[in-house]
Symmetry: C2
């Protein structure tokens, strides 16, 4: 998505440790008009997949997921993150390891909001090591839902998430694919 690459070039900041900060339009401050264009793009990419539900994880996934849901006219469910979980029969949960923070989180979704009739599209803001997406896929599988489609706003293609997801036969569409953040410079695939 050309407009996204331009936005990353103009407004993104590369920090040491291969970190790309895009918190002025994506994950702290949000540009709703631009996010709506992202929703339209995802809607176009997945329009033939008969999606019935969009899954994401709080918090940064919510804006792109909701605007995609608005375009596709399907409900959005955001998984909650927890440090720990008390035993609860009403939820599906999965472990998500954060390489950035080196912590384990659990994510969960109430069983009311996903079931075997759902055909799920997973949307998230970033893909790096793929742990959040794998956690959402795990939850969709626990629910017996179909989950063969993933949409990502910004993918760090030099990390292993892309391969972990596509090797499962999943259709992965990333709107911007970053090959390198070396020397403070963003290089797209």
């Amino acid at each position: 998505m050309k407009a996204l690459e331009e936005k990353i070039n103009n407004e993104g900041r590369v920090l040491s440790g291969d970190i790309l900060k895009v918190d002025n339009f994506l994950n702290h401050q949000i540009d709703p008009t631009f996010m709506n264009e992202i929703g339209k793009e995802f809607s176009k990419l997945f329009k033939n997949e008969n999606i019935t539900k969009i899954l994401t994880v709080e918090s940064s996934g919510i804006a792109p997921a909701v605007l995609t849901g608005l375009q596709m006219n399907v409900p959005v469910v955001f998984a909650r993150k927890h440090k720990s979980l008390t035993l609860n029969d009403n939820i599906y949960s999965s472990d998500v390891y954060s390489y950035t923070k080196q912590t384990n989180n659990k994510i969960s979704i109430n069983k009311r909001y996903i079931d075997e009739n759902d055909n799920v599209l997973i949307i998230d803001d970033f893909l790096a090591n793929g742990q959040a997406v794998l956690g959402l896929l795990d939850i969709a599988n626990q629910a017996g839902a179909n989950a063969k489609n993933v949409g990502i706003v910004i993918e760090k293609s030099f990390q292993k998430g892309h391969e972990l997801i596509t090797q499962k036969g999943i259709k992965l569409e990333s709107l911007a694919r970053i090959a390198s953040l070396k020397d403070g410079k963003v290089t797209f695939e």
Copy 2:
């Protein structure tokens, strides 16, 4: 907002302890089309206030805030919640006490994204004791921004948030005002 009251009557569940669960359209599963109507309603209510920025708190405030921002064509900033904060010169932060969870959180916003030129509209999903809104007002004040407008999706009018906010001379618009949740029944104002 009549459609919201109907949605609460049809899809909300009242639990013991004056808890209203609306997690099938507002704060776990989200109905994007309905949330867009909420955005239109807030946009209409605040259209003459020259709003330059919308503030909310992660996670449940994000969807209504972003769809209001889309209608008003202004950026949205969501405050992050933390259990504790490391000292950081680049953020404004405020303490928010949760009566439900009986825990203290800090919320923070990066100084890049709010300043004295901003005229802020605060949007949140729920108003009960008003602590999250007061925290956002505190942050807006620290930044020297103007903050005289608050929009709430569902207000529990029998709790003290409404008075705490309006006694500051702030314009508060709640789309549904609940007078009581006694005996498992929702009574609107």
